[in-house]
Amino acid sequence: DAGVTQSPTHLIKTRGQQVTLRCSPKSGHDTVSWYQQALGQGPQFIFQYYEEEERQRGNFPDRFSGHQFPNYSSELNVNALLLGDSALYLCASSLVGVSYGYTFGSGTRLTVV
């Protein structure tokens, strides 16, 4: 049974560019959450998707947007990249209403130059 799959594992982008990160949830899970983990910091909640809608959002600017597809997979989009967006982006899947059952992917390492 595959866990959470994220792609790509690494990528390098230039300031001002746009990036899309992808996440496939664990089988049986219907909710996807995205976290940003800057170097030396704990993960920070970006937003959560359920039934193809953004349900909760952390303190991140509108440059960060997302999408969830009918098969529960999700994308994280970041526009107008800044150097400070360099981080490990983690995807976590869960079942709606079960706030103790998160499964994390291995993350996408984004470097903005």
Binding site: G42, Q56, G97, S99, Y100
Partner: protein, 114 residues
Amino acid sequence: AQSVTQLDSQVPVFEEAPVELRCNYSSSVSVYLFWYVQYPNQGLQLLLKYLSGSTLVKGINGFEAEFNKSQTSFHLRKPSVHISDTAEYFCAVSSSSGNTPLVFGKGTRLSVIA
């Protein structure tokens, strides 16, 4: 809203010695508590979680944690560490009422010295 404070950013310890990683949380509602481990260049792996019931929780790799409601703490312990325990450890909290996101501490870097 919830918050987590991990009191030590780095903890060096000799192999086979005991270790305690400290975590305090703040919340106005009942909570679930978690400890995750992150090895270099990897995602987060759940070590253990407290949902309800016994305040002493046992997890994987010989780790355990004790929930102390009066002190709002959830410290992680292991009686004898191994070199392979060298990693970053994160304490996290979520509300027990609803699908709230996990709130993480800043992490504690455990370095096991041979």
